[in-house]
């Protein structure tokens, strides 16, 4: 067992956990933050993407102890004051999801993109987001959603 202290979505969290607890399992099973999804379990699909100090990482490949002392942001941490994040609004308005299993990972990856590059070109979006697989949207509407969020043209 190991004691870890970290900030998750701005909240200070302290827990005793087994050394081998994955960050994804820690979020989902210990903290009930089930927005991050487990897709492939080997860091290929991107469904488990969370931000560690603002950087997009696959939480299925990271040990929870790896996040000790750091800031973790999950999909649950994006809404502020009861208002969805512009990316979340855009994904709703532009049909950026269908079945939804990849969506929280897509949005977290897109957030890390827009945080570092607020106005990406279409090619930059594609290059950044190719680590997040989607089986059902065809990606076109995910690109539109990210562009809409970047341009501030979310409809609602």
């Amino acid at each position: 067992m190991k004691s870890i202290a970290l900030r998750i979505n701005g909240e200070e969290i302290q827990r005793e956990i087994p050394d081998n607890r994955l960050l994804l399992d820690f979020l989902r099973n210990d903290l009930d933050l089930t927005g991050s999804k487990e897709g492939c379990s080997i860091g290929v699909c991107g469904a488990c993407t969370v931000l560690l100090d603002g950087q997009a990482i696959s939480s299925c490949l990271a040990l929870a102890t790896f996040a000790n002392g750091h800031d973790v942001t999950t999909i649950e941490g994006l809404a502020e004051d009861g208002r969805l994040h512009p990316l979340q609004e855009a994904f709703i308005d532009y049909g950026g999801f269908q079945c939804g299993i990849c969506t929280s990972g897509q949005i977290m990856a897109a957030k890390s993109l827009l945080d570092s590059n607020p106005h990406p070109s279409e090619d930059e979006i594609k290059a950044w987001m190719m680590g997040n697989l989607c089986r059902c949207t065809g990606y076109y509407k995910i690109i539109e959603s990210i562009q809409a969020a970047a341009e501030g043209t979310v409809r609602r």
């Binding site: 989607c134 065809g138 995910i142």
Partner: protein, 233 residues
């Protein structure tokens, strides 16, 4: 169990003993059931003897703070439409004659559609299907050896990524008269049917080799091109 077969139905994987409500009977609410609502009324809901439009029902639910509302509806197509769904697709490819690498430049997906009820998700179904067609046509291959799937993870089973999508043009031809409620027609997964064949035809048109196995990988195109060269000598 002394139950008549016609009183058993399957719902969410479970057998349920209950006859479907007859019209006018019981608390069943039917949304979009036949006959279609009169024009101007919009989608309607009938319960018992009274009827409400969907808008009225939503407003009422909000007043009562009982939303979300959930009811089961049923719809039986009244007849057979001549064509329920139809699509035509065109693929434009670039083939490297040295390596056999196929680059899909553009897809045109044309659909004979009924009444489109939700344009956003309708388009989403087309786009998603197109991508599945691309995957089937170019990259996705389930390898089975002695009954075992050997590429059992997404690292070895290549799903197209966002970087793999071509320019896409969609053509919608609304002919209506579909068999579904409001003259709708099916759209889901229609756009993944013809695309692998369209890609194969485009490759044939580009470099003159006929690929009859999917996916059309660089390795297979390369082998077909070499075979063609050998046969020409």
């Amino acid at each position: 169990m002394k139950v008549e077969p016609d009183q058993v139905r399957m719902e969410n994987g479970t057998f349920i003993h209950s006859p479907l409500p007859q019209s006018g009977e019981g608390p069943g609410v039917r949304a979009g059931s036949s006959p279609l609502p009169q024009s101007g009324e919009g989608p309607g809901v009938r319960a018992g003897g009274s009827s409400l439009t969907l808008l009225e029902l939503m407003a009422r639910a909000r007043e009562l703070e009982e939303a979300p509302i959930s009811r089961t509806g049923s719809y039986a197509p009244s007849g057979h439409a001549e064509v329920t769904s139809f699509a035509a697709q065109i693929a434009e490819v670039e083939v490297d004659p040295e390596t056999g690498q196929v680059k899909l430049r553009k897809v045109v997906s044309a659909h004979d559609v009924g009444m489109i009820i939700n344009p956003l998700t309708h388009q989403g179904q087309i786009e998603g299907g197109v991508l599945q067609g691309i995957g089937q046509g170019l990259t996705e291959r389930l390898i089975v050896e002695d009954g075992q799937v050997t590429n059992a993870n997404l690292g070895d089973y290549k799903l197209p990524t966002m970087a793999d999508i071509p320019e896409l043009a969609t053509v919608l031809i609304e002919t209506k008269h579909g068999p579904a409620p409001y003259e709708g027609k099916a759209i889901g997964e229609l756009s993944n049917v013809a695309l692998p064949a369209a890609i194969a035809n485009a490759v044939y048109d580009a470099v003159g080799v006929r690929l009859t196995e999917l996916p059309i990988t660089a390795e297979r195109v390369h082998a077909a091109l070499r075979a063609k060269q050998r046969n020409a000598r």
